[in-house]
Every structure is written in C-alpha cells, then in structure tokens.
C-alpha cells in the first residue's frame, strides 16, 4: 500500500531540499506552499503524514494542524519550524495533537526515520483493525 507525505512550507527552497533528501523513501511526496493549499490537498487526496512549517502567511502551521486534527484525525501531524517558542510548541501539542516537533535545521536522517516509524505504526493499526473487522464479520453469521 503506497503512502503519501504532505510537506507544507512557504519557502519553496525548503520544500525542494526536503523533497530531494526524501526522494528515495518508499512514499509519495506532495509539496504545497500554504496552509490553504494543504487543506485543499487533504480534502481531495489520501494523506498519511503532514509536516508543516509554523510561520507562514495566511494560515499558520498550528492553525492548519488544528484543522487537520478536527477533520482528518487519522493523518499524522508534525511541525518543522525555524524558531520554536515554548508557546508555539504547547499550542501545536494541545490544539494540533502533533506527534513530533522538529526545529530547523533538522537532520534529514532523523526526519525520515520519524516519518518511517509513523507510517509503520499506521500500517500496524490498520492491519489490526482489519483483522478485528474480519473476526467480527466471521463471527456475525453464527449469531
């Protein structure tokens, strides 16, 4: 099953750099330049992980993730910011339910490992859910 990672940053050089280093990874990468575009992608595509910058014109990273938490709770949410304040970190965790908070410059290896683990976890959850669904389907006719 192929996965999709959505990268959000208002600086396309950051997006290009991320896309280049994550290119060999076994998932599709989408890049968008604003929170509004990200919402649009999330409404129309299957996305497994969102990694977003915090400070962007328009919708901020935290606001975007709060929206994702409300509308696409199954999507794993991560922040990648150039300047982390305690305040933004707390908001991201409380309102956006983020699983990981990276600061720029972030180590590309660490980033790919964290994304990889998040995807593995998602797959495991999905498999377990499918198994329990099958089990209940199998049990149903007996009832």
């Amino acid at each position: 099953m192929s996965h999709t990672v959505l990268l959000v940053d208002d600086d396309d050089r950051v997006l290009n750099g991320l896309a280049r280093t994550l290119r060999g990874q076994p998932y599709q990468i989408y890049t968008v330049k604003s929170g509004e575009e990200a919402k649009w992608v999330l409404k129309s595509q299957m996305v497994d992980v969102v990694v977003t910058d915090e400070r962007m014109p328009g919708l901020s990273g935290t606001d975007l993730l709060a929206w994702v938490a409300g509308h696409r709770p199954e999507v794993v949410r991560m922040v990648l910011t150039g300047y982390a304040t305690v305040d933004t970190a707390i908001r991201a965790i409380n309102e956006g339910g983020v699983s990981h908070f990276f600061t720029k410059p972030c180590n590309e290896f660490e980033l790919s490992v964290v994304i990889h683990k998040a995807l593995e976890q998602k797959d495991r959850l999905r498999r377990e859910k499918e198994r329990s669904n099958r089990a209940s389907d199998a049990a149903a006719p007996l009832a």
């Binding site: 950051v14 290009n16 750099g17 280049r20 014109p57 150039g82």
Partner: protein, 439 residues
C-alpha cells in the same frame, strides 16, 4: 526645634542685652563681637536669623549683610539691621545691600522681639520650600532613572524579538543548504559509479578490447542513476544553496549595519540602505502580516544622523505598523496588510514616511501616542515605548519633526522630517512635534 539667632555688635553690653531678651523669647542665641567673627559663624553654622549692628570697626554691618546676601546658600537667612536713630543713610544702604528689616537703637524690647519673630517665620517658610524642592528634585531624578530603565527594557525586548526572527532567517537556509548537500552527496555516489564504469570502458577502448562485460557494468551503474532527475535537480540544488548562503550573508551584514555603529555619533547616512537593512533584520516580524514596499527618492543625498538611532526609529515605526495591521486582521478586516516606506527630498529636509493600512489611530488617543508608556495593548504584552522612543530620536536627537496622518479603519502614515544640514542649522528648542489628522 529651637531657632538660632546670631547677634552681632561690637558693644558687649548690647550683646548681653540681646542674649537675655531673645533667650527669654525661647531662642538659642549666638553672639559675635565683630563682622569677621560673624561671617565665620554664619558660614560654619548658618543661623536662622541675624541681628546685625551697622556701625562696627573693621567689616561693618552693611558689608556683612552684602556678603551673606551674595552667597546663594546663605541668602535666605533674614538679616535685621540695628541702626542708630536718624541714620537714614544707613537704613537705605542696608536695605539696598539686601537686609530684610531694620530696628533703630535704642529699641523697644517688644518691637525687637516681634521683628525677630517675623524674620524667623519667613525663614521657616524658606526652609519648607527648600525641603519640598529637594524632595521634588529627588523624585524627578528617580522617575527619570525609572523611565531610562524601562526604555532600556523595551530596547532589549525589541532586540529579543529581532533575535528570534534572525534565528529563523538563518535556520531556514541552513535547513535546505544541508539537505541539498546531503542530496548532492548521495547523487554523487551514484554518479561516481557511472564515472568509474565509463573510465573502465575508455581504458578497454584504448586497449582495443571492449567486451560485453564492460558494457554490462556501465549499464548496471547507469540504471542506478535517474539521469533526467539528476540533470534537472543538481544545478537547482546548487543554485538554491547558493541563494541560501547569500541570504545568510546579507542578514549578517544587515545585523552588523544595524548594531555595529558607534552608538552616539552622527555621520552621513544613506537612508535607503539603512531602511533596507532594518526591514531585512525584522523581516520575520512583518512577513506574515504584510507586504512591505519601499519607494526612495533618488534625489535624496545622505543625511546627517546617528545610524543606530535611525535604524531604531524605522524599526519602531515598522513594528507599530505591523501591530496596527495585525489588530485590523483580528477585528476581521480581510484586506491584505500593506506597509510602505518612502523617502523624499524637500528643501532643507529629508522626509521619511511609514504608511500602513491597519486600524488607524482612534480619535480619543491621537494626542497620547507619543506619551511614555502609553499603550493600547494588553498590560504585560509590551511597554508602550516604541513611539516615545521614535519621538525622542527624531525631536531630541535630531531636531526633526514627527507627526502622523490617520483615518480610523483605513490606516496611518507617520511622517518624519530630518534637517538636511544637521543639528547646527536648527536652533529651535523643544518639541516640534505636531499632530495633524485627516478625518
């Protein structure tokens, strides 16, 4: 507290009489037998009033009186002259020398006592005023010190904000430059295999023995490399990395320009360059809320000013504009934030305008925006010193003017004028600031 009265006379019996009389009135009495002795006592332990005989050998009473009244610290001590009956000339001369009152000898005890009581009352009034004055001066000094501390706190606060923004400005290029290097490293390891295979192939060709094995080797390494991707992305990665490093370099240079000058000295400053640098240094503060444009008059020559203070002026006006726009956005205004910084050469003046399309300044507070610590923001958010500092920099520091035009709901323009010829040309003292409004 008992008042001390100094009695000065060359006649011992008069001194004795005065000592007894004033002692009965409840005063502490000090006696001097000559003008010079009197002056010594007055300067070492100033009394509360002086009874002074005019006719004395050596330094006479008039001279003693003149010297006491000439001394700023002693002039408040009331002097009552003791003059001989009918010596009108002594009275005139004595009063002209600064004496406060006179009593003719022989005197009536009650009259003398009443005169001394009146003199002591005057002295008490003086003392009270002097004390109040000293207290006020101390309070003013303390207030000035506190204002200075707060202004410094504000400066540190805005520098702290800048530091956060600058960290962001530098960390972002750091991020993609390091990613691009990693990408180039990985790409090269693939390309390296191809290059080695090509090398082997060329060597085989020189020896005239290319066989299928060589070609297979080249094919397998070449298959590892996505040629069209590499050809497209490597030059881009290099170009973007170079952009990033140039950006870091520009930021560092702008920071140097912003803070590296001799803090107090006026030099000829290229305003556009300083404005551009300041905007770059505080980019993080505005880039999310507004688009900033500049419009510089090419006819404007360099202007005499303190570069660090000028940067701070622009910083404060821009941060103020950012706040007005952010405020408008919070109030639900949907329009895009715009800040324009313009310069214009006027006869004898350099004009700088900082224009925003924020909330505008509400009517009731228009007269207070330059007041120290006046702020419309929540308590604790920031000390309201930005515009006060701007005002001080322009008016006190550069003898310029600062005013604003504002329209509620439409925006505000701050208009600063700095004299072209520097401070020497402008002699006007005090605040030249004016407030004009377009309703």
């Amino acid at each position: 507290m008992t008042e001390r009265i100094l009695c000065v006379d060359d006649m011992a019996d008069i001194l004795a009489l005065l000592r007894q009389l004033l002692g009965q009135e409840g005063y502490e009495v000090v006696c001097a037998g000559s003008g010079s002795e009197a002056l010594e006592i007055i300067s070492s332990e100033p009394p509360d009033a002086i009874l002074l005989d005019v006719m004395m050998p050596g330094i006479d009473g008039i001279e003693v009186c003149r010297r006491v009244k000439a001394d700023e610290k002693l002039s408040c001590i009331p002097v009552i002259l003791l003059t001989a009956k009918g010596a009108d000339q002594d009275v005139i001369e004595g009063l002209d020398a600064g004496a406060d009152d006179y009593v003719t000898k022989p005197f009536k005890r009650e009259v003398l006592a009443a005169r001394v009581r009146s003199a002591v009352r005057v002295k008490r009034g003086y003392d009270t005023i002097a004390e109040m004055n000293a207290r006020l001066l101390a309070e003013i000094g303390e207030r000035k010190r506190r204002e200075f501390e707060l202004a410094r706190a504000h400066r540190l606060e805005s520098l702290g904000q800048l530091a956060a923004g600058i960290a962001h400005e530098i960390n972002t290029p750091n991020q993609y430059v390091s990613h691009n290097l990693r990408f180039l490293e990985e790409t090269f390891s693939g390309v390296e295999g191809v290059l080695r295979a090509v090398g082997l192939l060329l060597e085989a060709d020189r020896n005239g023995r290319i066989d299928a094995q060589h070609l297979a080797g080249l094919r397998s390494t070449a298959n590892e490399v996505d040629v069209s991707y590499v050809v497209r992305e490597v030059p881009r990665a290099i170009r973007e990395s170079r952009d990033g490093l140039r950006h870091v370099e520009r930021i560092v240079r702008a920071m140097n320009d912003f803070s590296g000058h001799d803090a107090r000295r006026k030099i000829q400053v290229d305003l556009p360059r300083t404005i551009e640098n300041t905007l770059l240094v505080c980019r993080q503060a505005w880039k999310e809320v507004a688009e900033v444009t500049t419009d510089f008059d090419p006819a404007l020559p360099p202007v005499w000013c303190v570069p660090g203070e000028f940067s701070e002026l622009i910083l404060n006006l821009v941060l103020n504009a950012v706040q007005a726009i952010a405020e408008a956005a919070r109030e639900g205004e949907a329009r895009k934030g715009r800040i324009a910084v313009r310069t214009r050469a006027l006869p004898g003046w350099a004009e700088i305008r900082v224009e925003d399309n924020g909330t505008g300044i509400p009517e009731p507070i228009r007269s207070r925006v330059f007041d120290p610590f006046f702020t419309t923001r929540e308590v604790g958010q920031a000390v309201g010193q930005g515009l006060t500092i701007a005002h001080a920099i322009v008016v006190t520091g550069h003898r310029g003017t600062i005013r604003f035009e504002t329209e509620t709901g439409r925006g505000t323009t701050f208009i600063v004028r700095l004299p072209m010829a520097g401070v020497a040309a402008k002699e006007e003292e005090g605040s030249l600031a004016e407030v004009s409004e377009t309703a």
